[in-house]
């Protein structure tokens, strides 16, 4: 297939699936909490809605950074799709994209000039200290499989079986990272409702639409990375089932746990990361 067409197809798939999965999460959370909840496609409709709304720019916004950051967040996650499902390239690149996402969250918050955005910006730096080590759990995969190339990791698993069973601690730690990226999770301090919508609070119209698209693609990509590097070669329907199951588990956890205080959130994530990395290395040596 033509590379450009392949990229477009995968970006659209990532956007649609990511949006529907976020909607599904909200629906499951609502049902657990005894509410009717929004329709499953609500997040997708919200995203599309912002593209036909007026784009207002606050006087306090730091231009052109305020606009550029939304494009940057969108572009990096499209790059993640190209590196992931399209070319099955390097995990290191996805790690780099994830760290840029944290910088993006920080800058989106600070460039708006809103106090809520600024609070979110501080929390983004704070949480990066915890989430980046969690992502670094992927180094365990290198120690086990001897490669950071996604297609090689898939080949390794087709011969030796899924890495989920050989390095389970690393898989759990990566799941904690996925959990922390979901919207209502106990670790979602950058977008906690105590600061309205965090770094997205002062982004309206088209800009908010781009932020929401990147959010959907990011969710799809994190689930894709988890399923690919821990469960090995999967067919497209298997990916879909895996993503629905993971989103449902995350929704269940989010529905029954309150958001943590930022200090507690970060300390808990760092503790998880330490247990994951140290425990996995110990397990590898035994």
């Amino acid at each position: 297939m033509n590379l450009m067409l392949n990229i477009l197809l995968n970006v659209f798939i990532a956007f649609f699936i990511g949006s529907i999965l976020i909607g599904l999460q909200r629906k499951i959370m609502a049902r657990i909490q005894g509410r009717p909840g929004p329709p499953v496609i609500q997040h997708l409709l919200h995203t599309l809605k912002f593209f036909i709304k007026e784009s207002a720019f606050p006087k306090t916004a730091a231009m052109p950074f305020y606009v550029a950051i939304t494009a940057m967040l969108f572009v990096i996650w499209v790059a993640a799709v190209i590196d992931g499902p399209v070319t099955e390239g390097s995990l290191l690149l996805i790690f780099a994209i994830y760290t840029i996402q944290k910088i993006g969250e920080h800058n989106a918050g600070s460039s708006s000039g809103s106090p809520y955005g600024k609070m979110s910006c501080v929390r983004a730096v704070y949480s990066a200290a915890a989430e980046v080590p969690l992502f670094a759990v992927l180094i365990i995969i290198y120690l086990k499989a001897g490669t950071m190339n996604i297609s090689s990791i898939i080949n390794y698993q087709s011969i030796h079986g899924p890495l989920l069973f050989t390095i389970p601690l690393a898989a759990i730690m990566f799941f904690v990272l996925i959990l922390s990226k979901s919207q209502y999770s106990p670790f979602a301090i950058t977008k906690g409702k105590d600061i309205v919508s965090g770094y997205e609070t002062e982004h309206f119209g088209l800009l908010r639409g781009y932020l929401m698209i990147s959010e959907s693609i990011a969710w799809y990509m994190l689930l894709w990375v988890f399923l690919t590097v821990f469960l090995g070669p999967l067919s497209l329907p298997a990916y879909l089932i895996g993503m629905v199951v993971l989103s449902a588990i995350v929704a269940f956890i989010n529905a029954v746990t309150p958001i943590l205080n930022p200090n507690h959130s970060v300390m808990m994530q760092v503790s998880f990361a330490f247990i994951g990395i140290a425990g996995s290395i110990v397990l590898l040596m035994i």
Partner: protein, 106 residues
């Protein structure tokens, strides 16, 4: 199944959900009713699930077209306004699953 077919299925699901949502808001004014079963929605759900799960039984239409139409119909019922379409979806799925199990056993 390649990526393009996959995307068509997803778009079919999204369009079906939007149509279901709009139609159900026009049809029902009560905000949240859990007990009633809508016969039309039930029929749509059964046809949809049959097309999705038992697409191999209908040979005169290409399988991907069967599934696309089936997903659209399933999504129409599943995507109805909150509180509607749940029983219809479950009943439709069960009937289609029973037929599928029957065809596998026979």
């Amino acid at each position: 199944m390649n990526d393009a077919t996959y995307l068509i299925y997803i778009i079919s699901f999204v369009l079906g959900s939007i149509v279901g949502l709009v139609l159900s808001y026009r049809k029902y004014t009560a905000p949240y009713v859990t007990k009633n079963i809508d016969i039309i929605a039930l029929a749509v759900s059964i046809i949809g699930w049959m097309l999705v799960i038992n697409s191999h039984l209908i040979t005169f239409i290409p399988v991907y077209l069967n599934i696309t139409i089936g997903i659209f119909l399933v999504a129409m019922v599943l995507g109805m306004r909150p509180g509607y379409g749940r029983y219809e979806t479950v009943i439709g799925f069960i009937i289609a699953a029973v037929v599928w199990i029957g065809t596998v056993l026979v």
